[in-house]
């Protein structure tokens, strides 16, 4: 009965590959997010979707393409992976406005070699 689940938990891949991370929430939330935690441990927003519509795109290279087939899913596809993409990626969800706080998934540790 995981609230926000993301897969895979770990992902090791070579430079230049294309990979996807999946996220699903069963909380009935209508807004979903992708955050990146870099090597300095900052949590920074990448994208936000509300009811399948992109509402925030925070200066992320266009190699990163989120896709939301429905409001319970927000997947992240990354093309032509680079060493600097290595990080932990967190999916989160909230009600619109986020007043009740965000619920985070357990993260996907991506390592590009």
């Amino acid at each position: 009965d995981t609230a926000v689940s993301q897969t895979p938990k770990y992902l090791v891949t070579q430079m230049g590959n294309d990979k996807s991370i999946k996220c699903e929430q069963n909380l009935g939330h209508d807004t979903m997010y992708w955050y990146k935690q870099d090597s300095k441990k900052f949590l920074k927003i990448m994208f936000s979707y509300n009811n399948k519509e992109l509402i925030i795109n925070e200066t992320v290279p266009n190699r990163f393409s989120p896709k939301s087939p429905d409001k319970a899913h927000l997947n992240l596809h990354i093309n032509s992976l680079e060493l600097g993409d290595s990080a932990v990626y967190f999916c989160a969800s909230s009600l619109r406005g986020g007043r009740g706080g965000y619920t985070f998934g357990s993260g996907t540790r991506l390592t590009v070699v």
Binding site: F42, I55, E58
Partner: protein, 114 residues
């Protein structure tokens, strides 16, 4: 442009004593603040929040204090327990591109020593 800052990367406290985690912010328009707790290999989990119209919010062993004039908030944990060992993030809602996003500090790693 880091709107929320946690200047102490780590803190070590003896079990049973008080833990005080600090957070500073720059945007006086924030209307509430949140604290999240994160264990290794897990996502952040919501801990406690405070509205900007209050100066204190208490939930069991956890109390958050807000000093708006100083743009400073702190999380007090008393008494500290070994299970409190984790990374703590403060966060606040910023408006970007017409939508809300949570901005986070860089976290403070709290270690409770037996």
């Amino acid at each position: 442009d880091q709107q929320v800052k946690q200047n102490s990367p780590s803190l070590s406290v003896q079990e049973g004593r008080i833990s005080i985690l600090n957070c500073d912010y720059t945007n006086s328009m924030f209307d509430y603040f949140l604290w999240y707790k994160k264990y290794p290999a897990e996502g952040p989990t919501f801990l406690i929040s405070i509205s900007s119209i209050k100066d204190k919010n208490e939930d069991g062993r956890f109390t958050v204090f807000l000093n708006k004039s100083a743009k400073h908030l702190s999380l007090h944990i008393v008494p500290s327990q070994p299970g409190d060992s984790a990374v703590y993030f403060c966060a606040a809602p910023a408006i970007i591109q017409g939508a809300q996003k949570l901005v986070f500090g860089q976290g403070t790693r709290l270690t409770i020593n037996p």
